[in-house]
Amino acid sequence: MSASVRTTGDVVLKLDSISLAFGGVKALTDISFDVREREIRAIIGPNGAGKSSMLNVINGVYHPQQGTITLRGEVRHGMNTHDAAVHGIARTFQNIALFRGMSVLDNIMTGRNLKMKANFLEQAIWFGRARREEFANRLKVEEVIDFLEIQHIRKTPVGRLPYGLQKRVELARALAAEPTILLLDEPMAGMNVEEKQDMCRFILDVNEQYGTTIVLIEHDMGVVMDISDRVVVLDYGKKIGDGPPDEVRTNQAVIDAYLGVAH
């Protein structure tokens, strides 16, 4: 029995003619694509193609010189990272960005930061609203811990964990924010086959269970072709392909980019 037949919805995120340059270096040139509700959308391309820059644009880290970003029908100009988070965008990083000295539990709790309304004083004396919030937030965090099967490392400092588990903790922190759009920057880099399979399963489960839209960058073609609904291919900051995995796989420009052709 096939596990699931996913249905994707309307466009939630639309990027129009995005161009981004650092001084004279053009990172992205005139890139347009969209992401639909509940979709798993992959961005692939060789090293330096502009994949991470693309995520940074969506996430509000970089501001493109040209082009517009439309999030749920509203054009977002000059969106910063905080705005992105408020609008339900969460992400993980290519190089793990966790607090190494803090426990897994505390790290994931930081993902709930935006949901805490209590002021400094209330939190300091842990009274009233601060207390209620902590209970509610801890419950959500425990759900995520259960979901990603990391109960056994709940109290372990992140720095002591192997790489594959740290990646999972980072995903947990992103999920704790209850995002509607999740950006994953190479979630499977440096993992062994078994860890990759686990991660694939978690990504599919997140998508199915919470209906989260997922945009991911990944180098492992097998993974990308297996789990994504549509794929965008970048090369030297330009879009050279866009479509379902089977279509992209046979696209000549994509094959050339990956096999290397003289430019």
């Binding site: 029995m1 596990a3 699931s4 037949v5 801890r138 419950l139 425990e142 759900e143 811990i145 259960d146 979901f147 099967e149 109960q151 056994h152 709940r154 489960d205 199915e208 269970q209």
Partner: protein, 646 residues
């Protein structure tokens, strides 16, 4: 009218009445221990049973149960029994292909499973199991789009509605149950041939549970951690039968990886673990002590010395010098009590181990720090209940005294025969196997060879079919020798030969981790397993172990002739992939003897070196030939120590 407490569903109703608010089941979920009282469990079981009945489950049917130790799976067992059905717990880590035989043999139509993993396996097996029609799952994660399976919550809903429509149904069904109905069917692991379904009646399990409870004075206030496979007879006895007879609390861990944390949080009073768990715990303690400060290390080693000297005696209530007693008291405050706390064993009154031989040092370590660790002996066919070691009378090399109501007899060929209320009713659909194991007098043939020592304690020496005789007429129990050898950390596996010969010879497998570490510390360079195994230093190390065992054998009655005369260290590890071991890591003696016949000939011909070529199979199926020249060593033998006639 007097209440009849002779089936498990009736026992559950009894506890719901006499101790309704007492915790019956706990499970750690979302980081918090959730509790269900007896009255709540009784309500859940009632709804479940009604749900199953509404779905067509009938008296005499089998209900497959597959998953980790989850409260709802335990409750499903009781629900099936309430309807006169028979739960069949299966090993949750087996692949789908292994399910097929049992599912077909037991004609499974209904199955209750834990999660998506198990559902997927059942669906994979389904084409080959035409009877399988109803699958219920506990954890809904990932199962939203599965059309052909039903959630537990839905089953409970159906059950509650059915219960409302048929108010007297459940109580009538429970009242119809008879004590000699089959309560559970457990499949034996099947080292030889296909697995066999062992049918155990309510009366057998309840008798075994009652006996154990009386023997160890267990009460309704015990708390245990239920973490061993539900398909294993021991878990059925401890987590289900004894819990329902005594009315104590079972605690289900959060996940397989969190057992050690959960153990500390619960602090069970009654505990079971196989020897390897105790071994891992001790290794962890030792490693952490190496990292501790010098003062703590000295304190630890000093007081562990005291414990070795007198700890076990104090636990057994034997006379101990006042100075030692004082030292032990101090040690208890500074070392033993904190250590027990770290291990999660502060509250333990009774701990058991079984399933494999436990090393003497390991056993003594736990007893000396005040943990009442004991061994028992039993099998699936006897509800894991034949012999128990009594408090204050623990002998390391015996399995204890026959349990209450159990009759043990040694047959002429040395086989252990048992009779009692805990015996199996039959092997499912296998009258031939039943007739073979249960004789006309009602004795069950365990297949183990053993004897009673002077104090009436049973000593198990080997599987009866492996026990032979030397040419001198002395008894030869290879497994007994091999276990003694394997207690040395440097020896991973051993195979002893001697049946029909005039002396004993052995193959030894070194433990790569332990010997490798030993070699590194001594600056002995080696290129791999085969090279390390033939280093003269390593052979000398093994020789020391063999000679220590010989000295022990010389001191034991009737075993002096079993001393190992010659041995060799094998150039490769015995491996299940090469069919040399079973999947449960037991040596396949006949196969090994055939495969390495040149080596055996060389051992007995007195040759000092033998060349051998062996095929090795890798995990991915590739094969390769390895060749080696193996050195053969003589080991010193000791004169037999004279024994006084008992």
């Amino acid at each position: 009218m007097e209440e009849q407490l002779d089936t498990f569903p009736r026992l559950l109703l009894h506890h719901a009445m006499v101790r309704p608010r007492h915790p019956a089941t706990r499970e750690k979920d979302l980081g918090i221990w959730q509790t269900w009282t007896w009255v709540e469990v009784a309500a859940e079981v009632r709804a479940l049973a009604c749900g199953l009945a509404a779905q067509g489950f009938e008296r005499g049917m089998h209900l497959a149960i597959i998953g980790d130790n989850r409260p709802r799976l335990y409750w499903s067992m009781c629900a099936a029994q309430a309807l006169g059905g028979i739960p069949v717990p299966m090993y949750q880590d087996a692949p789908a292909a292994d399910f097929v035989f049992v599912l077909n043999d037991a004609e499974i139509a209904y199955a209750v499973v834990e999660d998506q993993e198990q559902v997927d396996k059942l669906l994979e097996a389904q084409p080959q199991v035409p009877t399988l029609s109803h699958v219920y799952y506990d954890d809904p994660r990932g199962l939203r789009n599965y059309a052909t399976v039903t959630s537990f919550d839905r089953l409970l809903e159906i059950g509650r509605a059915f219960d409302l429509a048929h108010p007297g149904f459940y109580d009538a069904e429970v009242a119809r149950g008879r004590t000699d109905d089959i309560a559970i069917m457990l499949y034996t692991s099947g080292t030889t041939g296909k697995p066999k379904g062992v049918c155990q009646a309510h009366s057998a399990l309840i008798a075994a549970a009652r006996g154990g409870i009386e023997f160890d004075h267990l009460t309704a206030d015990e708390s245990i951690l239920s973490y061993l496979p539900m398909a294993w007879v021991g878990d059925n006895l401890f987590s289900y039968a004894q819990a329902l007879v005594a009315g104590f609390t079972i605690n289900c861990p959060e996940s397989g990886d969190t057992v050690m944390t959960d153990l500390r949080e619960i602090g069970p009073t009654y505990y079971f673990a196989p020897p390897r768990v105790f071994e891992n715990l001790l290794t962890q303690v030792m490693i952490r002590m190496e990292d501790a400060s010098a003062l703590k290390r000295r304190l630890f080693h000093h007081f562990m010395g005291v414990a070795r000297r007198c700890g076990a005696e104090i636990l057994d209530g034997k006379p101990v010098a006042a100075a030692d007693r004082l030292q032990y008291w101090l040690g208890n405050m500074l070392v033993y009590a904190p250590l027990r706390n770290v291990l999660g064993m502060s509250r333990i009154r009774v701990a058991y181990t079984a399933g494999a031989a436990i090393g003497p040092d390991l056993f003594r370590f736990y007893r000396s720090i005040g943990i009442n660790l004991k061994q028992f002996y039993g099998s699936t066919e006897t509800c894991a209940y034949i012999c128990l070691q009594p408090d204050g009378g623990v002998k390391l090399d015996s399995v204890g005294l026959p349990a209450p109501n159990v009759e043990v007899r040694i047959a002429a060929n040395g086989e252990v025969l048992v009779r009692g209320p805990m015996l199996l009713k039959e092997y499912y659909k296998r009258p031939d196997a039943t007739a073979e194991s249960l004789d006309a007098e009602g004795f069950f043939h365990t297949g183990d060879a053993g004897f009673f020592d002077d104090g009436g304690h049973l000593k198990i020496i080997d599987r009866a079919k492996d026990v032979g005789r030397l040419e001198t007429g002395a008894i030869f129990a290879p497994n007994y020798l091999e276990n003694k050898l394997k207690f040395f950390p440097h020896i991973k596996e051993a195979v002893a030969f001697g049946n029909g010969r005039d002396h004993v010879c052995a193959f030894i497998n070194i433990d790569l981790g332990s010997v490798g570490n030993w070699a590194e510390r001594r600056g002995i360079a080696y290129s791999g397993y085969a090279d390390l195994a033939q280093k003269s230093e390593v052979i000398a190390l093994v020789k020391e172990c063999v000679e220590t065992v010989n000295a022990e054998l010389a001191a034991e009655a009737g075993l002096a002739d079993s001393q190992i005369r010659r041995f060799l260290v094998l150039h490769k590890e015995l491996d299940p992939d090469d069919d040399e071991l079973t999947r449960t890591r037991k040596v396949r003696r006949g196969f090994v003897a055939e495969k390495y016949v040149v080596l055996i000939d060389a051992l007995y011909a007195g040759r000092p070196v033998q060349h051998i070529e062996t095929m090795v199979r890798f995990e991915d199926g590739r094969t390769n030939m390895v060749a080696a020249d193996l050195k053969i060593e003589d080991a010193r033998n000791f004169p037999a120590v004279a024994h006084k006639a008992a």
